[in-house]
């Protein structure tokens, strides 16, 4: 059970820096995420969004700065330690076990989260199966429990990828482009399913999602952070960030002036 002191940010990134030789992937990144927030990261390719996500999950260590998870410094923690402290992520390209069934994928995620130490405890014990099916039900995937993942379409794989991340009852969930690869007419329904499934869980989950579709950003983000060249160039409500001149210049490429207008 994750504990969280009211008022303490779920995640606090303070002065994060990360360089790869001469390339600055993150520079002076300061972001606090409150409990229950749905924070969207936007930015062009190479802006630093994925670097930020990888630093939070422990796969990259910042060159400077620190990361606090509910007040605890996790900067130097290993990825597995961070996972066990309540940070989970899904992937732009779903990372699934294709030769196994949907239910087996969920059970594998559940047991991986628990750090299974017993050599002969059944994978399909009733409690684990019930817990897995409950999450699948929230995502509308329960009827597909016995289907092999390799037979499933991309949109369903996306949902399963996110469902697996929820098996550990995280306090912070990172979604890497949750609607990429999903057809345009299914994006909203997919996000509706994801958000509903997350919010119907027993624990409050804060969400960070990376997204390029501004319609999705406007509709689902409670707050938006824009990246450019490793720096945060805007942070606030969705509409104010999207219409920020710097964001329009470097991220969305949309000018507020009509075509043909002169300054």
């Amino acid at each position: 059970m994750n504990t969280h002191t009211p008022g303490t940010p779920v995640l606090s990134a303070q002065g994060l820096q990360r360089t790869f030789g001469a390339v600055v992937a993150a520079a002076d990144v300061n972001i606090d995420i409150q409990s229950g927030e749905r924070l969207c990261l936007i930015g062009s390719n190479g802006a630093g969004k994925t670097t930020f996500v990888n630093m939070i999950t422990g796969y990259l260590k910042p060159s400077a700065g620190r990361i606090l998870l509910a007040g605890e410094d996790i900067t130097q923690r290993s990825p597995r330690e961070i996972t066990h402290r309540g940070v989970a992520r899904s992937f732009q390209i779903p990372q699934l076990y294709l030769q196994l069934t949907v239910l087996d994928n969920m059970l594998a995620a559940l047991h991986a989260n628990r750090g299974s130490r017993h050599f002969f405890s059944a994978a399909h014990d009733p409690q684990s199966v019930a817990a897995s099916r409950e999450i699948l039900r929230r995502f509308g995937l329960e009827n597909l429990a016995d289907r092999l993942v390799r037979e499933l379409p991309g949109g369903v794989r996306k949902l399963l990828d996110i469902a697996m991340a929820l098996t550990g009852q995280p306090r912070l969930l990172l979604l890497d482009e949750p609607t990429s690869g999903v057809s345009a007419d299914e994006k909203f329904s997919t996000m509706d399913t994801v958000i509903q499934a997350i919010e119907s869980g027993p624990e409050q989950v804060s969400v960070i999602f990376v997204e390029h579709d501004m319609d999705i950003v406007r509709r689902y983000a409670t707050r938006v952070v824009a990246f450019y060249s490793g720096r945060v160039i805007a942070d606030g409500q969705a509409e104010s960030v999207i219409t920020d001149p710097q964001v329009q210049q470097h991220v969305t490429g949309l000018s507020s002036q009509p075509l043909g207008a002169h300054a």
Binding site: T57, S116, L148, G168
Partner: protein, 324 residues
């Protein structure tokens, strides 16, 4: 043929236990009915099959060891030395001693090996077995290249019956086969067994979900070492002899071949494949004395061509027909 999930369908403890008991009874009945030469062949087949069962465990986590001769020889030599120099004659004790020796020999190397994959894992495991082979060849106290003999074991204080002396060892082999095969099946159905398959499918996701891939692979290697050690002891007792070739790379290669021949869809298929291979080898050498390797190779090619998922895939034909 599109195979179903490699995850074994869960079986209740009662069904597993009853299968194990039934299996033991059937093996003992087989032992009483079959001719002596077949019992000797079957004993060796099951002994080798146990080693291949260990390889099955590792293949289900995505690695293939080419050096199980290390633990096969370590277990065999431990038992043979205990037999010769310390008067330990009981077959059950010797098997446990061999299994534990294999486990203890493999354990220090497990964390190192578990960090490698593919050909690197295979070659590293092979190199360890060949180092042991070299040591055994050069150590006269262990019999050098000739090895040394062991005589018949006892069982709980009883000596082998005069008329059917092979039945004592066959009973011990059947016992260990049924117990260990059941435990392997249980493990494959366990949460760690499922995680092993997950490691094979997608290591990255396993790590991101909070489990250690190295830990899973290392423990699989250690468990396989115990199986290999027990197999080594049973082989020594069956042959009445131990020699450095137990650690040689061709011996290790045969265990891998049995595992590939069986496929990864059945524990029983591994044991059956070991028996089939021994039968084919024996009949090939009997009827094609000058070209038996050719006959054996042809058999193996036919199996790979028509049953690429191994002999164990035959168990899924009915399921595939139902799907179609």
């Amino acid at each position: 043929m599109t195979m179903p999930t490699p995850y074994f369908p869960p079986l209740s403890a009662a069904r597993l236990l009853s299968t194990a008991v039934l299996g033991f009874v059937l093996l003992m009945v087989f032992g009483y009915l079959a001719p002596k030469w077949m019992i000797s062949l079957a004993t060796l087949a099951l002994a080798n099959g146990l080693v291949s069962l260990g390889i099955l465990i590792m293949m289900r986590s995505g690695v293939v060891p080419f050096g199980q001769g290390l633990v096969f020889a370590a277990g065999g030599y431990a038992a043979a030395l205990a037999f010769k120099y310390f008067g330990v004659r009981d077959a059950l004790l010797l098997c446990m001693l061999g299994g534990m020796t294999g486990l203890l020999v493999a354990a220090p190397f497990a964390p190192l090996l578990a960090r490698y994959r593919g050909i690197f894992f295979a070659m590293l495991s092979l190199s360890l077995s060949m180092v042991l082979y070299g040591i055994l060849m050069k150590t006269d106290a262990l019999g050098g290249s000739d090895g040394f003999n062991v005589s018949r074991p006892t069982l709980l204080g009883m000596t082998a019956p005069e008329q059917r002396p092979e039945m004592l060892l066959w009973g011990v082999t059947a016992f260990f086969t049924c117990v260990l095969a059941t435990l392997v099946r249980l493990y494959c159905n366990s949460s760690r067994g499922l995680l092993s398959l997950s490691v094979r499918e997608n290591e990255l996701r396993v790590e991101y979900l909070g489990s250690s891939v190295v830990n899973i692979v290392a423990w699989n290697y250690v468990m396989a070492a115990f199986l290999g050690g027990v197999g080594g002891v049973l082989s020594v007792l069956a042959l009445g002899h131990i020699e450095p070739n137990f650690a040689y790379w061709t011996t290790s290669g045969e265990f891998v071949f049995v595992a590939i021949l069986a496929g990864q869809h059945s524990v029983l298929a591994v044991l059956a494949s070991s028996f089939v291979l021994e039968l084919v080898r024996s009949f090939s050498s009997a009827y094609f004395p000058n070209t038996w390797q050719f006959a054996l190779g042809l058999f193996l090619l036919l199996v790979i061509r028509f049953l690429p998922e191994g002999l164990g895939s035959l168990m899924h034909w009915r399921q595939k027909s139902a799907r179609n």
